[in-house]
């Protein structure tokens, strides 16, 4: 049985040779990086660099809008949701787009890997999952760690390891590693906290925001041609990275993405944040509220309307009226 990497190379080369895709969007390994990085393969030769391993974390739908009409993308189950979300919002057309789905063994968290491996993480050249172990190929040999110690938080509650609605599937299905939501206790703690404590919690984090907009740029759902944050007439959010302005910036982004039901809880915004703001605590809270209030999960049905474009006359009014003492 060929490996997922061998299969993805083969599939990509076939798509490129037949002209079914002008470009195959996938992953490649580069020295010095714990995670695989995106690759735009345009020729069968370039496609040889494609690979798949638990370092393939990036959600490649960030590039969906810049793909040509005939293109293919390597996707995990979670990434499919982001692409479908864009189809739902009529940002991309599914015609001409081929998905090479990967039976995902779970992906790693760079932060956890670095915490466990220290400087040796810099020499990582490959990673694979075997059973409940993640095996890292390092300069000084292989190192095995319990997968549960290094998996990205989101993988523990993943329900889409096997990508749905894709044309091609590579890799063998592998039993997912599940556990209680790693975010659970922190979410509960924040939920139980007083408003002032929550405000102070976010103030401490947003204070650090430098407004590099990596969270926005990487977000699969952030697809506006002109972002309200960049709008100068009027200026909704001052550009200065003060805590107050960062707070408004993050509030607006949270409103527009998870608040409007467009978040798939992929956690990419938190992953790319260079100053470690735990953004997923917010996206998740609002994501869960959308599920609770409107029984809606983004990116599962390309025909489904997004929740803010429809209504039910019996929608919740729990947010209305005078707050109870």
């Amino acid at each position: 049985m060929p490996s997922a990497t061998e299969q993805v190379v083969e599939q990509a080369q076939a798509l490129l040779s037949s002209g079914q895709a002008e470009v195959v969007l996938g992953y490649q390994r580069a020295p010095g990086f714990v995670l695989a990085r995106p690759l735009f393969a345009r020729t069968p030769e370039q496609a040889e660099r494609l690979m798949l391993d638990p370092g393939c974390v990036a959600d490649l739908s960030s590039y969906a809008l810049q793909l040509p009409q005939k293109a293919a993308a390597v996707v995990k189950g979670c990434d499919v949701r982001s692409f479908v979300g864009l189809i739902q919002e009529k940002q991309i057309k599914p015609e001409g787009l081929t998905f090479i789905g990967w039976n995902c063994p779970g992906v790693v968290s760079e932060r956890k890997v670095r915490q466990r491996l220290g400087d040796r993480a810099d020499t990582l050249t490959a990673v694979r999952r075997e059973g409940d172990q993640m095996i890292f190929t390092l300069a000084d040999g292989e190192q095995s760690l319990p997968a549960a110690d290094v998996l990205a938080d989101r993988c523990f509650i993943c329900k889409v390891q096997q990508p749905q609605g894709v044309q091609v599937v590579v890799g063998e299905p592998i039993t997912p590693i599940t556990s209680d939501d790693p975010l659970g206790s922190e979410l509960q703690r924040l939920h139980a906290a007083s408003p002032d404590e929550r405000r102070a919690f976010w103030a401490e984090h947003f204070e650090r925001c430098i407004r590099c907009y990596a969270c926005r740029e990487v977000c699969p759902a952030c697809c506006c041609r002109e972002c309200i944050i960049d709008c100068t007439r009027p200026v909704w959010v001052p550009r200065a990275p003060t805590e107050q302005d960062n707070f408004l910036f993050q509030q607006i982004r949270m409103l527009h993405v998870p608040g409007y039901g467009r978040c798939t809880d992929c956690g990419e915004c938190e992953r790319v944040c260079p100053v470690n703001i735990p953004l997923r605590l917010l996206t998740r809270t609002l994501h869960d509220d959308i599920v609770r209030l409107y029984n809606y999960r983004h990116g599962l049905d390309s025909e489904a309307p997004v929740p803010m474009t429809v209504y039910d006359t019996a929608d919740s009014e729990a947010h209305m009226g005078r707050p109870k003492k």
Binding site: P38, L39, R111, I210, R211, R239, P274
Partner: protein, 349 residues
């Protein structure tokens, strides 16, 4: 300049005494992240961690700062200076890496005469920087190749190098000498053995990272200018998300925007970081944009660091700290871009 020695155990004493007179800032670890923070106790300092995430320049060119405030009364407008930071005595910043300090030396040029940038210069003249020699290197460190950071320490007032239980204090500026005078009871003249040991440490690091850069600095500006039409800008920028991580966290980037924030009665003018990586950076009100795609914007970043700065200020802007490499969410590696762009380009004489 002079060199002194300090017993390692006296460093805390020195810091405490400095803290009695002025703010002391140092690397502090929090949220899995090391940042410069004001400290009151030397025990707060994280000497072990990697370089600070937000570089030293953030203390001299903050992510945002008020330039002045204004009040409006009818058609009249009155301007006032912003409230200065309560650090008129000058901060003592300890624990800066040599790469970050060297970047300030570059910024001294870029923000210097003619028309020197007043807020930056004010802080530079006021504050003291105590740099430290790195004890270990990372694979993304390429400071020596990029800017001879280890062999030409610069930009700081002191350089500390730990040699067993002693610290070598190399004075790098006049300000640094005055600082040494104020601690004369703790410092004694360094012996040649200590000087030699400290130099050897830096030579050893330089040796170990000599292959990290992947490119040769020889004639780099001309070779890069010759690569103007290289396909590499497009192919390497294709996966760029267009975020500002590489530039906002760069120790030598200087770009900023100037904006107003105002209510009906008044407001302030502030400046904040801006970046050549944003499409809006050069887009004119008319809609024209001289750098319309990420490809031109990547080229500008790389050429600015390794070619334009050399022509304009006589120094490479990149100090090889590696932040833009290891923080890029999509693995764009400036060393690789330079290597690939210059591989085939031949400079015209």
């Amino acid at each position: 300049m002079k060199a002194y020695q300090l017993r390692a155990e006296d460093l805390a004493k020195l810091i405490l005494r400095a803290a009695a007179e002025r703010e002391v800032w140092a690397p502090v670890r929090r949220n899995d992240l090391t940042l410069f923070e004001r400290i009151t106790d030397p025990a707060q300092i994280d000497w072990e961690a990697d370089n600070v995430r937000v570089p030293l320049r953030g203390l001299f060119l903050p992510v945002q700062e008020a330039l002045f405030t204004f009040r409006k009364e009818g058609a009249e407008v009155t301007l006032a200076a912003p409230q200065d930071e309560p650090t008129l005595a000058g901060r003592l910043i300890i624990g800066a890496r040599l790469c970050d300090a060297a970047a300030l030396e570059y910024l001294d040029r870029a923000f210097g005469d003619p028309l020197a940038d007043a807020p930056y210069r004010r802080r530079r003249e006021r504050d003291l920087i105590v740099a430290v020699t790195c004890e270990k290197e990372r694979p993304y460190c390429f400071c020596e190749v990029a800017s001879e950071v280890l062999s030409r320490p610069r930009g700081a007032d002191w350089l500390l190098t730990r040699v067993e239980d002693r610290l070598l204090v190399e004075v790098l500026s006049e300000k640094g000498e005055r600082l040494a005078q104020s601690f004369s009871d703790l410092l004694s003249e360094a012996d040649s053995q200590l000087l030699e040991a400290a130099r050897a440490i830096r030579v050893a690091i330089a040796g170990r990272i000599s292959n990290n850069a992947r490119f040769s600095p020889e004639g780099l500006p001309a070779r890069l200018m010759a690569a103007w039409d290289s396909p590499v800008w497009q192919s390497e920028s294709e996966r760029c998300l267009g975020c500002g991580i590489c530039t906002f966290l760069c120790p030598s980037c200087q770009c900023f925007d100037i904006c107003d924030r105002a209510g009906i009665l008044g407001g302030e003018r502030y400046r904040c970081y801006d970046t050549c990586q944003f499409a809006s950076f050069t887009k004119m009100a008319s809609g024209e944009n001289p750098r319309p795609t990420q490809s031109e914007r990547l080229r500008n970043r790389v050429l600015h660091k390794f070619a334009y700065s050399n022509e304009r200020f006589g120094a490479t802007a990149c100090v090889g700290c590696g932040r833009c490499v290891y923080l890029c969410p999509v693995g764009i590696d400036i060393r690789e871009v330079v290597e690939m762009a210059t591989k085939e380009a031949v400079p015209v004489e």
